[in-house]
Amino acid sequence: MKLELRDIRHVYAPSTPFEVEALRGVSLVVEPGEVLAIIGGTGSGKSTLVQHMNLLLVPTGGEVLVDGVDARSLKQSELRRRVGLVFQFPESALFAPTVEEDVAFAPRQLALSEAEVRERVLESLRALGAGELAARSPFALSGGEKRRAAIAGVLAMRPEVLVLDEPTAGLDPATRENLLALILGLREAGVSVVLVSHDLDEVAEVADKVCALHEGRVRTAGTPAEVFYGDPAQAPATVQVASLLRGSRPEIDNPVRFGETLDALRALQGI
């Protein structure tokens, strides 16, 4: 599906002394089968923005369009199934006696047959590399295992767009690499992924498009190369290195991912 946010404004606690304008007119598009990264500092509005994608938050102004149709006209349960949102530190919402039961929560809300539910549960757990955790209690797992179980719980809805808010926060490097591989795998399978992240090196590896927020507005948006080379001071390390060399060695071009940056640098030295 094509998910579009048009000129989204969001004001928290309007007409009270605590009023805060978190989003001041943000527009972006999530194309099918694409990984869109949303970056920006604390207070830029990233988390607020993505909660509009499944209308968990309703915009104060602007609209959310699913394939051109106003999302508010869709059935809420439909929308939430098609746009799956995973919060930061999602493992804090695990509640069932077994991982299997917990992951089954969302599919069960969809009134599927028990057989279908089981199939989805196993499918999602396997996609997260967590198949063997099915019978365990979610409260007895390690941090990385819990995270994977929680994400599986949303994936089991088979959403068309998966929104991940800082999915690798607090994780060890091994689990983080698994999650990044999952994101790429999902894209292969035609699922769009919206990735909110403060880790630019991570964004460099998986993003097709980048949208940079600042104080509730879009600062820049475009391909990773466009956004990062446009402002190398706030870019992943790969771009920083390459852009420093571009002046004297323009043949470097504009690599973003680790692999392509390494190749470009090697070619430079004539190794």
């Binding site: 605590f18 968990l56 349960s77 804090s92 919402a93 695990l94 509640f95 969809l110 949303v154 809805m157």
Partner: protein
């Protein structure tokens, strides 16, 4: 969600706000006892006037204060109604079948209603003018003599302080968990009361488990910072009983005395 909206603390500066919380706690306790010793409506009205003056001095807007009384209005109305309908005293003003409205009933109803309102108002004034943390300190201090009879005054105060610290945090956590479960298709607004209660399980369970885990981590952190109960601890925050606090207590006693005599 702010801890200032918790309870009814109204954060302005006034002479009443500046009083030592222990003085205010004692004054309220004395006040409540005194109220039951007053047996004339005139006495109650006098005390009510003084209380109203105190509310004004505390710079709490009348509207805000009256809102504190709202939860209790139902009981007040019920009390008045009960007295009006079933008291058999004084001049009969109105009769309808076996129901009788008489002047005695009206007077008694009014008296009881006023007393209830004054009780709630005094508690309301206390919490509106005293920050929750100060209240906890005051309670700990007043209860500390009970340590001699093995009452865990320090532990109780510590629990109150920690609760105050974590209530906003747990509130945010609850919001987040609700959001996460909604995103998975949970619906908290459908069905009758039983169904709704069941739909809260995916929120209450993780919230509770999370709270226990927090408690564990907090306990580790406290121990790591040398906490070993109340023994040998000093206190950073200071409560100083000044002349004006003693004065406030004296005035309270005086007002009550007048009320009793009236």
């Amino acid at each position: 969600m702010t801890s200032r909206t918790l309870g009814q603390f109204y954060p302005v500066s006034s002479p009443v706000h500046a009083l030592d919380p222990r003085a205010k706690l004692l004054a309220t306790a004395v006040f409540v006892v005194g109220l039951f010793l007053i047996d004339s409506t005139v006495g109650l009205l006098f005390v009510a006037a003084v209380l109203a003056a105190l509310v004004a001095v505390s710079r709490i807007p009348a509207g805000t204060f009256l809102r504190l009384l709202r939860p209790v209005m139902f009981i007040v109305a019920l009390t008045v109604l009960f007295q009006i309908l079933f008291a058999r005293e004084g001049v009969t003003l109105f009769q309808w079948g076996f129901l009788e409205v008489n002047s005695g009933g009206l007077r008694l109803g009014f008296f009881l209603a006023l007393r209830i309102l004054l009780l709630v108002s005094s508690a309301g004034l206390l919490t509106a003018t005293t920050a929750p943390v100060a209240l906890a300190d005051g309670i700990e201090d007043l209860l500390s003599p009970l340590k001699r009879v093995w009452f865990p005054a320090h532990e109780v105060a510590m629990m109150m302080t920690i609760a105050l610290r974590f209530i906003p945090t747990l509130g945010e956590e609850a919001e987040k968990i609700k959001g996460a479960q909604s995103a998975r298709g949970a619906d908290f607004s459908r069905g009758g009361p039983l169904r709704r209660a069941r739909s809260l399980v995916p929120v209450l369970v993780p919230l509770t488990v999370g709270a226990f885990r927090r408690a564990d981590e907090l306990a580790d952190a406290m121990e790591s910072r040398g906490y070993r109960g109340g023994e040998g601890r000093t206190r950073y925050r200071e409560l100083r009983f000044r002349k004006k606090d003693a004065l406030a207590l004296a005035v309270t006693l005086l007002v009550l005395l007048v009320g009793i005599l009236l």
